[in-house]
């Protein structure tokens, strides 16, 4: 972003990478895949790089409103100083926080989840989705809570999967009734409370039950939870967990 400013230019969009996308080895692959797609679409985009800091979502959901607002205001100050208007992110938690919780703290942007953004690139003819190796594959989509129920985005990811000409099979609990992967509300960072099962195992079993070859995800945290679930069920050879951006990039041989 600083480079753009030095050149006196304004990028089309700010790609908010997020902590998972920056540091988590699995999620970094999603980041790369998404960047490849942005480049393929000849899009001028920027990242904040080392100026980006956690949105504060896990702090807020843990109850630490102070830390959340500190993070939020720092990020808002950075983004406002660059005159950011449009933000895209591959993480539904960052998406939800920046879109819904930043405005009243002084940060109003046009925020999109990467599946919505890819859909719009598709509609504008700037990006083509090829069916490639996913044609006819059985795919089930896991609705991330913070994309689906939290923000009513159900169709954009499904539309992209249709473009891949995959056979989309729905789990019984999908869309509004989708079952959580178990990571939200800062659960990602702690052990679960005592119970008789892990939530991610419950969800993975449901996904495997659809006999899908691929579990499509739209959230780095769901991705981790479901990948762990598949490993736990020893199904890695048969079932893969992939982000939709990765699938589209792979289909296009990027």
């Amino acid at each position: 972003m600083a480079d753009f400013q030095a050149q006196g230019k304004q990028p089309e969009v700010l790609f908010w990478v997020g902590c998972a996308g920056s540091f988590d080895d699995r999620a970094k692959k999603i980041t790369k895949a998404f960047v490849k797609l942005l480049n393929r679409a000849n899009l001028e985009f920027a990242v904040l790089g080392t100026e980006e800091s956690c949105t504060g979502d896990p702090a807020k959901r843990s109850g630490n409103e102070f830390l959340f607002q500190m993070q939020a205001m720092t990020n808002i100050e950075t983004m406002n100083s660059y005159g950011v208007k449009k933000v895209v992110t591959a993480c539904p938690h960052c998406f939800n926080t920046i879109k819904n919780e930043y405005p009243s703290l002084g940060g109003s942007y046009d925020v999109m989840h990467h599946t919505q953004f890819l859909k719009s690139l598709l509609e504008d003819g700037r990006l083509k989705v090829e069916s490639g190796q996913f044609k006819g594959k059985r795919i089930t989509f896991h609705d991330p809570c913070y994309l689906g129920r939290a923000n009513n985005v159900y169709e954009a990811p499904r539309l992209l999967l249709e473009k891949l000409e995959a056979e989309l099979v729905e789990m019984k609990r999908s869309r509004k009734n989708g079952l959580c992967c178990g990571a939200g509300g800062a659960q990602m960072f702690k052990e679960a409370e005592k119970g008789n099962k892990e939530i991610n195992i419950e969800r993975t079993e449901e996904a495997i039950g659809t006999k899908a070859n691929i579990i499509a995800a739209g959230c780095p945290f769901c991705n981790t939870m479901l990948t762990d679930g598949v490993k736990h069920k020893e199904q890695e050879a048969k079932v893969h967990v992939m982000d939709i951006a990765e699938m589209i990039a792979q289909a296009a041989d990027l």
């Binding site: 896990p58 819904n100 129920r149 990571a183 509300g185 409370e193 005592k194 892990e198």
Partner: protein, 436 residues
């Protein structure tokens, strides 16, 4: 003089029934007002729309078709039969008999449809009872449903059976009504059961059914305050005031904003507190007791029907954790009732009873099991938000007591120090862009 005795008795019964109810409504209002202020913003149009669709239209109830449709039957029956109650009240006060019968054909049509509804309600209630007590559907069996909540649900069903039966018997034994031969759609088949009785006995049965019916309704009205059945009144305001913002949006605490601004702005003078601002700083961050919740959360608690749709969708509950969003709502109501009774017993002021919602009702273990997935909020047919209470209590635990689980404390100190929930260096944020 004697002729007016029944009217006088009726009036006395009616007035005392209504007054007693009004007294409890007063308590209800006072208890809800114990909550913190909350400004209601957002589109009024959307709120009216919600009231129309979700509350009046029961749109979320029918997402579970069996219980949903049966509930619609009972609900419509309830609304329609109120017209009949109006007639009873007028007759009772003025000593008239079926005052609306001058409507002729329309009257026959109205009463005829009430009779059909009465039968449908009876059938629905039987199925409801069977689902709870014979089929034993899982969501009615969670630990929080033992004892009073279980009995409460059944009492209501018995009540409905008695009221509907009285209504039909009253019509069947009303010879002048039967003679109209219009509107007695169902009761004409019950009337022959009484054929062997003398006219005066039949009249006595009719009068008794009439009296028991109206007294029963007044008792029912007064039962509401002690029951989950309060939802038949409160569901409407509750849905109207329910959130119209995206479910993922959690409120930003204003008191915190003010402090954070001061901390981040080096030029701000911390002593220059604007005069009007002093009362806005809360004595406590988050909630440990019902008075720390806002009035809408308390209204939510009184409105909860204990249906358990939230709990049956909750991922934590489904995987055997202690958390049940329904229990969060029931605990909040129970504690609020306890606080209310405390105020009543102490001449209008609350005396510390050494108890609070956190710990004595809701445990930390429950609170930390929530994934904030909003499944409970989505599932609730009357727009209750159990998650908002969970979040306010977490806020108290973290900001007032630093009582987060240790892993979360680590996560938070990582964010504080490195701007990420993991212990990575801020300067490594671009590493993803380097080689594979």
């Amino acid at each position: 003089m004697m002729n007016f005795l029944p009217n006088a008795i009726f009036l006395a019964v009616l007035v005392s029934g209504v007054l007693f109810f009004a007294k409890n409504v007063g308590k209800l209002k006072r208890n809800i007002a114990l909550g913190r202020d909350l400004e209601i913003t957002g589109s009024k149009k959307e709120r009216w729309n919600n009231l129309l669709m979700i509350a009046l239209g029961q749109s979320k109830m029918v997402r579970r078709p069996v219980s949903g449709i049966l509930h619609v039957v009972v609900y419509l029956g309830f609304i329609i039969i109120n017209i009949e109650v109006l007639e009873i009240v007028i007759d009772g006060i003025f000593g008239s008999h079926r005052i609306f019968s001058f409507l002729g054909g329309l009257y026959g049509f109205l009463i005829g449809s009430f009779e059909i509804f009465a039968v449908l309600v009876l059938l629905a209630v039987i199925v409801f009872w069977w689902r709870r007590n014979v089929r034993r559907i899982a969501r009615f069996l969670n630990p929080e449903m033992k004892g009073w909540p279980k009995q409460d649900a059944n009492y209501i069903l018995y009540f409905e059976v008695v009221l509907m039966t009285l209504f039909l018997v009253m019509n069947a034994t009303d010879s002048s009504f039967q003679a109209m031969e219009s509107g007695n759609t169902v009761s004409q088949f019950i009337a022959p059961w009484f054929a062997g009785f003398s006219e005066s006995t039949i009249h006595l049965v009719e009068r008794s059914a009439w009296w028991l019916h109206i007294v029963g309704i007044l008792v029912f009205l007064n039962y509401l305050y002690y029951s989950k059945h309060l939802h038949i009144l409160l569901a409407f305001p509750n849905v109207y005031f329910g959130s119209v913002t995206p479910k993922g949006q959690l409120d930003n605490m204003e008191a915190v904003t003010n402090e954070v601004k001061l901390m981040l702005d080096p030029t701000a003078n911390p002593y220059a507190v604007p005069s009007g601002d002093t009362q806005s700083a809360p004595d406590k961050f988050g909630a440990s007791d019902v008075q720390d919740l806002n009035w809408l959360q308390l209204l939510n608690a009184y409105s909860c029907t204990e249906c358990g749709r939230c709990t049956s969708e909750c991922p934590a509950n489904q995987t055997g954790k202690l958390l049940s969003p329904r229990k969060i709502m029931m605990d909040t109501r129970d504690r609020l009732q306890e606080v209310g009774a405390n105020i009543d017993a102490n001449n209008g002021t609350f005396q510390d009873d050494g108890k609070q919602l956190l710990g004595d009702y809701i445990s930390k273990e429950e609170l930390w099991a929530c994934t904030s997935c909003n499944a409970c909020v989505e599932a609730c047919p009357i727009s209750i938000n159990p998650l908002s209470i969970i979040m306010d209590m977490r806020r108290y635990l973290v900001m007032e007591q630093s009582a987060a689980p240790v892993e979360l404390k680590n996560m938070m100190s990582n964010i504080e120090n490195n701007g990420a929930p993991w212990p990575y260096n801020q300067m490594d944020r671009m590493n993803w862009a380097n080689n594979d």
